[in-house]
């Protein structure tokens, strides 16, 4: 805590502000681990250059472990705070005028050019897009992956559609994950937010800069 003694009054300004709750962080970690396992082992069957890493059936066993982790991830949130999840979902699926403007400017921002982004709520439009992509892609993974496991009971014609759909989902998921990890770990503007997935907090300056509308709504907590 910093102590601001201007105007002879004592105001306590927190350095960091909580952004992600514990159950959300657990869910995020389980999903990330599951995705890394599933994607890594899936790539072995996707790209022949990685064939030496297959380890026989080991890669397929780990692929299933990864899938199970990914499936279990949302239950940490749904089980702990269903109402909170519904609120988050409403927020995620609503794209305001600022969000649409954010998305227009996002490509240049992603490429590292200095772009002034419009003020955002708790989730910026890019995070919303990522959230939706992960949600629908995961649902797709469960559907196509599950059916692939059961394909001996399905018509022969189903296999090509299922495997190609599963592959396309994997490509979308891996590309999305790469961009997500880059922003969290390497991008100088957004890197400070990484600790949010560990202890749930982000620096106050970061919150004010990147989530101005949300920060405004949180001010009452300091009053």
């Amino acid at each position: 805590m910093d102590e601001d003694t201007n105007n002879n009054s004592l105001i306590i300004v927190p350095k960091r502000v909580e952004r992600i709750k514990l159950h959300e962080r657990i869910s995020h970690a389980v999903n990330a681990l599951g995705f890394l396992l599933a994607a890594g082992t899936g790539l072995v069957l996707f790209y022949k250059g990685l064939k030496k890493l297959s380890g026989g059936t080991r890669s397929r066993q780990l692929h299933r472990v990864g899938a199970a982790l990914m499936i279990s991830a949302p239950f940490f949130v749904w089980g702990k705070d269903w109402q909170g999840w519904k609120k988050t979902w409403r927020e995620i699926t609503y794209f305001s005028k600022e969000d649409r403007e954010f998305l227009k400017r996002a490509p240049m921002y992603m490429l590292g050019f200095p772009v002034k982004m419009p003020p955002q709520g708790k989730f910026n439009a890019g995070q919303k897009m990522n959230f939706l992509m992960v949600t629908f892609n995961s649902a797709g993974f469960v559907l196509t992956g599950g059916l692939l496991m059961l394909r001996r009971h399905l018509p022969e014609k189903a296999f090509p559609y299922l495997i190609i759909a599963h592959d396309i989902q994997a490509i979308v998921g891996i590309c999305g994950f790469m961009a997500h990890a880059y922003l969290a770990l390497l991008h100088p503007d957004t890197r400070p937010s990484f600790r949010a997935v560990i202890d749930g907090t982000v620096p106050v300056e970061y919150a004010l800069g990147h989530h101005a509308l949300w920060s405004e709504s949180q001010k009452h907590k300091l009053d």
Partner: protein
Amino acid sequence: MQYAKLIDISKCVGCRACEVACKEWNETGIDDPKEHPFGYQSHEDLTYRTWNVVKFFELGNKKSDLIVNKTDQFNENLETDHTKDKLLFQYDALLGPEPGNLIETNLGSESELESEEINYSVWQVTKFFNQNTNITNQHEIPKWMFRKHGCMHCTEAACIKACPVDALTRNNELGYVRLNVSTCTGCGYCVDACPFDVPKLDSGAIWGFGKVSKCRLCSDRIQHNKQPACVQSCPPNALEFGLRSEMVKLGQNRIDDLKERGYKDAYLYGENELGGLNVLTVLPSKPKDFDLPENPKVPEYLNTWKKVVQPLGVLAIAGTALMLGFSFVNNLLQGSKKGDSH
């Protein structure tokens, strides 16, 4: 100098010695009998442990379903298990492989035939058919044929194209498709791709614990100048093994012979299919009569999947990495510019 196996259906008596020899040499073990219900065939299809199965077929009419599917009815019509077994065996022996045996049999009354065991059995079988089906014309009585089913060792093998880790490769020198079990992940893509439905997965494959298996043309034997176990064991020499060119010649001679004997649709299967198979089959009639595809092909989806979707996927991932790399460097440059301006 490729080798090939020649299967002559017109000579096969369905004894299944090849199945036993295969199991013995390769030590594949036995399947759970509960999973393979009663029928003429030892197994309905190939399994993880059974790399070749002698399939039973009928030329002319499709009445084999009567035997397999009307088992209960069949049992009710027979007095004892002993009679049933004896009858099935004799029926098998009497009707195949030469066509028309039963047609020429002069059936008498039950009392006349009782003393002659074989003819009595024929009478019983015929009576069974007449009582339980609409067969009235003796010419519609089926003629049994047998086809040894297993890996065809294709030149343009779909399984090799489908395998993501190159566990399946082709030995072009000897002419067979080998399976590297330690590399196999058990994904089953070869199972889906094979036009002959040959590779089979172990039961645990769905959970990632099983692998695939199939005939290896006894590569360990042929590399030591021995014939494959199945060929070695075949009593009527319905199986031959040798240089592919010689086997093609031998097969063509058999086809010519069969055609002369009235089998107009006789055909040497595998001479040109999928770039040439290393298991050739002398068929007395059309391939479809023996559960073989008329024009086997590498499934089209393999091209879409392996040559379009997967390269595009690699390109997309590489493109994303490139873009993020550019962004990282650009951010560093923009940062240093900001630093300079301050």
